[in-house]
Amino acid sequence: MTDRPALSVRNLSVSYDTPEGRLRALRGVSFDVQKGEIAGLVGESGCGKSTLMQTILGLLGGAAAIESGEIWLGDTDLLTLNRRQMRRLLGDRLSAVFQDPMKSLNPVLTIGRQMTDIQFRRKASRADKRARAIEMLDKVQIPDPAKRLDQYPHEFSGGMRQRVAIAMALMAEPDLLIADEPTTALDATLEIRTIELLRELQEEIGCAVLFITHHLGVVAELCDRINIMYAGELVEHGGTRAIFDAPQHPYTELLFACDPAQIKERSRALPTIPGTVPGLIDVPPGCVFAPRCPKRFAPCDSLHPRPVASGGSDLVLCHLRDPKVPA
């Protein structure tokens, strides 16, 4: 056993080839997810969350190119693996739960068939695999698992389907689980049940979880640490409590302020972040958030901020927090 983090992303840059030019979707992203830790990844649509997830899982499309960086899963650099080696890893040491369980489950096969199929690596009898599937369904609190195993996905409710997807993802007890907005399609009561379940299973299995979401309440309840992305860059990361107490990056601060759950007094007019996310084909030389930032000052337009530790955050990409930049 080494003390390496479960996942370590180093200086990752990914771009897409588009008719208008090279779209630089991820630029110099670095972060770690420690063993047994649940890390949140938060950001608006188009900030690069999905690109990051696809890069880690090796699912990037043909128009995408990895320009630089390393992705370490324990002591394996995923970016040096070929397709076959990557394939061997997926569903074993690395697995994922996606947003829509109806789309990730095969509608024409029974749950049981799908749950035994994905155990193809195990040398065990069908009965053993079936027993393992029943055990997993029981763990995700599906009542009467032996009977439910012979049913099709459409016979399950939305919340149950997502729990089945979680059971399948955790079946091989992976080192890292990537959960891409797994509760977005669920209602409040189911959402809480699902994240509580995820936490219990995570503690039992001891895997690390990268939880992608834009629901800040879920991050606050579930995650040990959070990573905040904006326009292809990681702008802040640190312990959940520290960041919620005192966000260091102006974007984090505004994002939190926009969340209706954060506003205690009832108000008909909700805050927004004026302006739009910049195009990523011609990325401005300065800070990417500068055009929308209420706190921008002289260096923001021309100089790209360097990562610094500030307050309770381990990394902030903002000139305001950099002691070497004069105010």
Partner: protein, 330 residues
Amino acid sequence: MSALLSVRDLEVAFPIGGLLSRLRGGPADIRGVAGVSFDLAAGETLALVGESGSGKTTLARAVAGLGRNVSGNVTFEGKDILAMDAAARHRLRRDVSFIFQDAVSSLSPRLTVRQLLEEPFRIHGETPDNMDAKIADLLDLVSLPPAMADRRPHELSGGQARRVGVARALALDPKLIIADEPTAGLDVSVQGEVLNLLNDLRERLGLALLVITHNLNIVRHIADRMAIMYLGRFVELGETDTVFHDPRHPYTAALLSANPVVDPEAAPERITLEGEMPSLLRRPAGCEFHGRCPFARELCRTHAPEVTQDAARRFTCHYPVGVASFLSQS
């Protein structure tokens, strides 16, 4: 206060099963909405809250005259919607418009934004002389730049597509807008924009809004009143503030307590619900919530509770939550 929309004992049935199962004595239909009554005044916002499958969308469609097998009474400006013929229903669409849940897929991918915005006018046989100005106005109303008119849906972001949907709903100056999950899938920063827009239009144009959502944080900010649905019925309906601060029905209390709190320090006290929502095929006897209710007693298993009505709300429960404070008030 006269109601713009008045709904009484609304039921929506879905036929199920084949001849064989019916001969065996199985039910011929299930009731997706089972006896719902409420009023909505001009300029008012009512939020419908409930789990998926509780009948929110079915109710909204029936209210807009889009449902089949609907019984009960729905009047809009004193006219009975359910008794309308096709032509009258067609005219009703001018006054009652719908914002659909999935913004991108509710827009035809083959049409430009301009054509999408012209569509409501064409459907109602209107060709205003100043169509271009109308479209510019609509785009302006939803804060989209005029250049957007020539884009197609796939070239729009989620928030922009949502705003085109809102502009379409507003094209013919409706009196009631039914918005099905108007902010689902939107980022928090954009979500505020769409909600502020709807609220602004409500104030300026006196629109009535029926908003379906499962985001309780939004409900708290935008809705005057809220209704909580379970198995096709309202278990509680009341002023938003009242319901939030002092829920009566255990299901409401459970929903409110499940709302994730954006404060890592807070350890909220949760009311945990057992099991899943029962199937509509087998509605439980007595109070339909008793199987999942942490406070259920013997009476709940056998007798369906009556509606309790007071000034600010109504609910259906034998043993309402916080009943002590309720008694001391009355």
